[in-house]
């Protein structure tokens, strides 16, 4: 099954409470995905700074070690904030490449979940209510965010198998459905030097979109080529620096509901996900068409 939620703030009253709204929306989708949950939150960008979100299975030990290691490098100035099993490192955008390489080379137990000016990704196994509490999502503010509750079908219940999957800087994807040609597509992408952390089909979709965008396609073009090359069932919601997009496969048996008011655009796998939003009774609510790319941006 799986549940997806998304919220795009048009006004400040929504962005200041983004975490509160997304937490409620995600919890309402617990029946659709009780085994793991995750969110990508797009906060305020800091001038010439970037954020790296890392995850660890033994955070106490690993994060202390990482912090010490980075502090020893005099040329790197950074801030370090721990949220349970995740840590967000803020640093100068120029040092991004060096630090990601250092983490990958020196800390095999750490996983970089996201890199970007605005985006932070939080995901863990457990019930959605536990996951949002663990990361104190309700306190977070931001311009937009997307979330996912997972009911694993074709690969293991692990932190890295949870969504969202980062598809590049400030980009991520969540998926409801199952892909049938993910193994062959993964092999093809590996030949094109893409790397994978899991056996998960959704990671292949994320990697496919990253690959297309790295080769110069726009998000819209990348999603349109997904319609041609991905075989299976999917409702995708993709987050970018400026907003989010929605795509359903041509058969469209995976559910999707959109709602728009002067204050926000919201996505839910079901209408239940939207009922906690302000003035939902007055919102324009509709079902996105199959094989059609939708996008809202700031």
């Amino acid at each position: 099954m799986c549940g997806i939620v998304g919220l795009f703030a048009k006004k400040e009253n929504i962005s200041t409470n983004l975490g509160v709204h997304l937490s409620k929306m995600l919890e309402s989708m617990s029946d659709r995905g009780p085994d793991s949950a995750g969110l990508a939150i797009y906060g305020k960008p800091l001038a010439s700074k970037t954020k790296i979100t890392v995850q660890s299975g033994s955070p106490k030990h690993d994060f202390q070690k990482l912090k010490k290691f980075l502090s020893a490098k005099k040329e790197i100035s950074f801030s370090f904030k721990i949220h349970s099993t995740h840590a967000v490192i803020k640093l100068d955008v120029k040092q991004k490449g060096q630090v990601t390489k250092l983490i990958n080379d020196t800390f095999p137990n750490l996983r970089i979940l996201s890199v970007g000016k605005k985006m932070e990704i939080y995901k863990e196994i457990g019930k959605p209510a536990e996951v949002v509490k663990r990361f104190a999502i309700a306190k977070m503010k931001g311009s937009h965010g997307i979330g996912h509750t997972r009911m694993a079908t074709e690969s293991a219940v692990t932190t890295l198998g949870a969504h969202p999957f980062s598809t590049g800087e400030d980009q991520c994807l969540v998926h409801n459905g199952s892909l049938s040609n993910h193994n062959s597509l993964r092999r093809e992408l590996i030949r094109k030097e893409m790397t994978f952390e899991t056996e998960n089909d959704s990671e292949v979709a994320a990697s496919f979109i990253t690959y297309k965008m790295n080769s110069g396609k726009t998000l819209k073009e990348a999603l349109e080529s997904a319609l041609v090359e991905l075989d299976g069932f999917y409702t995708f919601v993709v987050g970018t620096e400026n907003g989010f997009g929605v795509l359903r496969d041509p058969i469209a048996c995976k559910p999707a509901v959109l709602a728009e008011t002067p204050d926000y655009v919201a996505f839910g796998s079901e209408y239940r996900a939207l009922t906690s939003l302000p003035e939902i009774e007055k919102a324009k609510v509709w079902e996105p068409e199959p094989a059609t790319v939708y996008f809202w941006g700031h």
Partner: protein, 225 residues
Amino acid sequence: MHILDFNKLSLRDINKTLQGSDKNSFFSIRNPKGSHALAVGINKKITVEVVGSVGYYCAGMNKFSDIKVEGSAGPGLGENMMSGNIHVTGDVSQYAGASGHGGSILVDGNASSRCGISMKGVDIIVKGNVGHMSAFMAQRGNLVIFGDAGHALGDSIYEANIYVAGEVASLGADCIEKKMTKKHLSNLENILSNAYVSDYNPDTFRRFGSARSLYNFNVDNAKIY
């Protein structure tokens, strides 16, 4: 009128009350908040109004009762209904009226894909558009579409009638346009008048049905099975 409020009662309590109520009772359901499986399995003549949008499988297996949703409905509205009337003032999601045997469904807004899939006698009236593969393998009954129909309308259809006033994106296998005879025109008028729909021009409707070229069953072979 009895008010049943989701802020005070559970779904199970509400459904139990509806299913166990006296004939001709009138219920108003408040704050449904997209709940699933509301007002399912009712088998007596009662009237239910739902103020707000509902989730999956609302009014499934309905028999005799009149159910009105003032809002939109999720997938599987009125699935396998036997009789009675369902009216949704907003939109409905996938497979509304699936395998319905009888009664009628009126949708003021749009219906999504697979509307009336495998319908077996139900009348479905959609004032807006319907999505792809509507009336797939439809066996009996009528699907009346005031707006446009998506791709593969009436794929592998048996004996149901489809009436469309708008555009048809494409017809499915074995579905063809048929002549609107006097008999079919009066059938259409009957269906609409039974649902109290009067604001329409019957001349704008076209009729679609089965070419019957996929029929392979021969009654002479029945003893083989």
